[in-house]
Symmetry: C2
Subunit: 119 residues, 2 copies
DNA sequence: CCGTATCCTGCGAGATACTG
DNA sequence: CAGTATCTCGCAGGATACGG
């Protein structure tokens, strides 16, 4: 059974919550980075390779922002060559449902587009 | 019971789906507009009033984009003063889960921040 | 009421080159 | 490997004014 309380009906306060969420997850890359990290601790280059099109500069910048929001944990191993690992937090994990929903909707949307252009 | 298949684990194809979704919902206002409309058919000014800080220019622009993606339906009543109504589509409604998840996470995040600054 | 037309600004983001 | 440093540009998005 589906929990029918899962509606999008939003009070003003709810809207604020959504706004807050969007503010933290804004931009083209943040969610993609979080998805990569949620599947396990990863190194810088591993993340970069997983996300098509992202530049080192952007990845570095976004990771830093996410870190200040406590959405990723950065761990440096003092070795040569340098090793840095990024991992998720409990707080990140709670994004599961957002990502899942977004993924499902993405597929739906894709289908819709295909049908629409299916003249 | 919760469906445990709702994990964020994403294949490359899944990542594409998320990217597609983000592309359509990008920007500061789209989701907020959709939330407003999902709660019922609304007129231009009604939406504007509900979304704090949005300008007429932005609302107009975003609504147009959403319309081309078939996420809102625009209906014009030829009267004076003019009346224009915007409503959701079935496709928009399927965003329910995304919005709900985002809302829930927004609240969680807010709490987290409050605790963090609670020195 | 329901927008459009301009003008303007900052920042998101790519390209490239370089360091420890 | 894991980044930083510049430079550059487009465009998201704000302010203001006007039109049917």
């Amino acid at each position: 059974m589906i929990d029918l309380s899962q509606t999008a009906s939003c009070s003003t306060k709810d809207l604020r919550a959504v706004r807050d969420a969007l503010e933290v997850l804004n931009g083209k890359w943040k969610l993609q980075i979080l998805i990569a990290i949620l599947s396990g601790t990863k190194r810088f280059k591993e993340i970069a390779r997983e996300i098509e099109g992202i530049s080192d500069r952007m990845l570095s910048k976004e990771l830093k922002e996410l870190e200040t929001h406590h959405l990723v944990v950065r761990k440096v191993y003092d070795s040569f060559p340098p090793v840095v690992e990024y991992s998720a937090t409990a707080h990140t994990s709670s994004l599961d449902k957002v990502i899942y929903a977004l993924k499902e909707w993405g597929y739906l949307h894709r289908e819709k587009i295909i049908h629409a252009s299916d003249v």
